[in-house]
Symmetry: C2
Subunit: 306 residues, 2 copies
């Protein structure tokens, strides 16, 4: 039985690229594997796949009876609905430890680094498998994406070292330029429905019993949102109602100015305000230096719900 | 702040030895670490520590405000009571993925192998740290203990390879003989109170809402229990009542005959009987080939509670 490698719901580039890079590795060490994805490919990821000649992994949302090697998450909120009927044979991830459990031993490669693909690189080295040029390319792009070209506080020395190694294998001389090109693709929001923008990189959380949903958009210039900010705010209210969320938020991250404007819709905004010791103005606040949802939002917001 | 390395409640040799071997490794890579233990040292472990010149790690049951690198478990049932007030910086384990969660990224080295110390060896290799002779000795003994000298179905080729490497480092020519010596120490039950025997290697589980406790005693000859079996059975009933368990069981494992007699006290024994498709006789049943609680008991018993 083939193992499916698959990342989280609303897949980002790391989820898609790690599914591909991990599946290749597993096949090389004699474990039949097929990459999959739980949702649509976003424009940034499509750019990466096109750049290195890959097609998107198979779309798959049901895994009952299958073996799955999870990439880029470890919580039930981001898993397929029927994950309890699947066998989780492994997890490779770089987030906090989530609430997935298993009934049999498995392998977990979880590290506090900037990107899952940095850890997949460790797995290639452990198994002494050579990384093909194209696979190295998509792994490198995923790391540049997750670490916001090394600017994110989640970025570690290991991420930088691995990008340099992968760039060499992929034959990319100026990976910084490729990263910027990638983020420009990511910044293309014109004509995109606001709901699609909110959900493009959206993660649901269970914070001590309260449902919280947080999206993030990383762009090279925040002014592109000026015309749609009110619309985004209104749609956050709508999303919160539809999904029964306590709080819905959207991070508009300016990777050049290195900070995020956070749009917040909440049934009790004081929780958010206390968590960050900041007052919202018309449901918005600028948080200077904030680039990472994982490291600069979740660890402060979650305890505020305790 | 020093990191505490610490295994599960009712520590076995793997929990104690991995706390020591991991702490040494962390110190070597510049992370101050102190080994700890959550409970008394059992006779087998004491034999190992004496054999290689170690004293037992510090007894510590409260970790509020501390950093902890967990070894040999990943579920709350085996964690310190105040684990939520500690920061889990890492987990190295070889069991099914438990229900511990964290609010920040961490490192997890979890593998489906026979012993945590096999994975700690992988960590030494990853960090290119040389293993001292004495540390290699206790790591080797822990693997021989957890894998029942390679007889357990949990034992993998990697465990065997690592034992050979560690034996070489430790300068032990006949590791099989040392293993048998160790299991003879483990088999010494004369004069030990029955409750102490039940709890010597005891693990609590939450099986779909039902509390289940399972102890295991591995000996070289089962007849040593003949005189105390009734007393053990009566004390299992008592333990079940005291702890509000649905089921309390004790595996009497004969490592030479390669099987286990299981003593069961249950508020509904039919669950156990269905799980293993066997009838209990006077609350007892022999399961041929059963050496591993983790691999041959839990994966069958847990689904029966679903
Ligand atoms: Mn990621
Ligand atoms: Mn163990």
């Amino acid at each position: 039985m083939a193992i499916y490698t698959c990342g989280h719901t609303t897949p980002d580039s790391d989820s898609i690229c790690s599914a591909i890079s991990l599946a290749y590795l597993l096949n090389k060490i004699g474990r039949e594997a097929t990459p999959a994805r739980q949702g649509e490919v976003n424009p940034e990821t499509q750019f990466i796949l096109d750049r290195f000649g890959f097609t998107a992994p198979e779309l798959k949302t049901s895994f009952a009876g299958e073996e799955i090697f999870i990439t880029d998450y470890s919580d039930r909120g981001q898993a397929p609905k029927d994950i309890d009927e699947a066998t989780i044979v492994g997890i490779v991830d770089h987030h906090k430890l989530g609430d997935l459990t298993t009934s049999a031993p498995l392998e977990c490669w979880i590290r506090p680094v900037g990107c899952t693909n940095t850890i997949v690189k460790e797995m290639y080295d452990y198994h002494k498998v050579e990384i093909p040029k194209e696979i190295a390319g998509i792994m490198m792009c995923a790391i540049l994406s997750d670490t916001v070209i090394f600017k994110s506080p989640t970025c570690t020395d290991l991420d930088i070292k691995v990008v340099r190694e992968l760039a060499q294998i992929a034959g990319i001389e100026d990976f910084g330029a490729l990263g910027m090109e990638m983020f420009k693709v990511k910044s293309a929001v014109e004509g995109v429905p606001v709901r699609e923008l909110i959900l493009r990189d959206y993660k649901p959380f269970d914070m001590h019993g309260s449902k919280v949903g947080i999206g993030q958009l990383e762009v090279v210039d925040l002014t592109i949102f000026d015309a749609v900010k009110d619309e985004l705010q209104a749609d956050l209210d709508k999303l919160r109602e539809e999904e029964g969320l306590h709080t819905a938020a959207l991070l508009l991250t300016d990777i050049m100015k290195e900070g995020s404007e956070v749009l917040v819709s909440s049934s009790d905004a004081s929780i958010f305000e206390k968590a960050f010791d900041k007052k919202l103005e018309n449901g918005k606040v600028w948080i200077d230096g904030c680039l990472s949802r994982k490291k600069q939002i979740i660890p402060f917001l979650e305890p505020a719900f305790a």
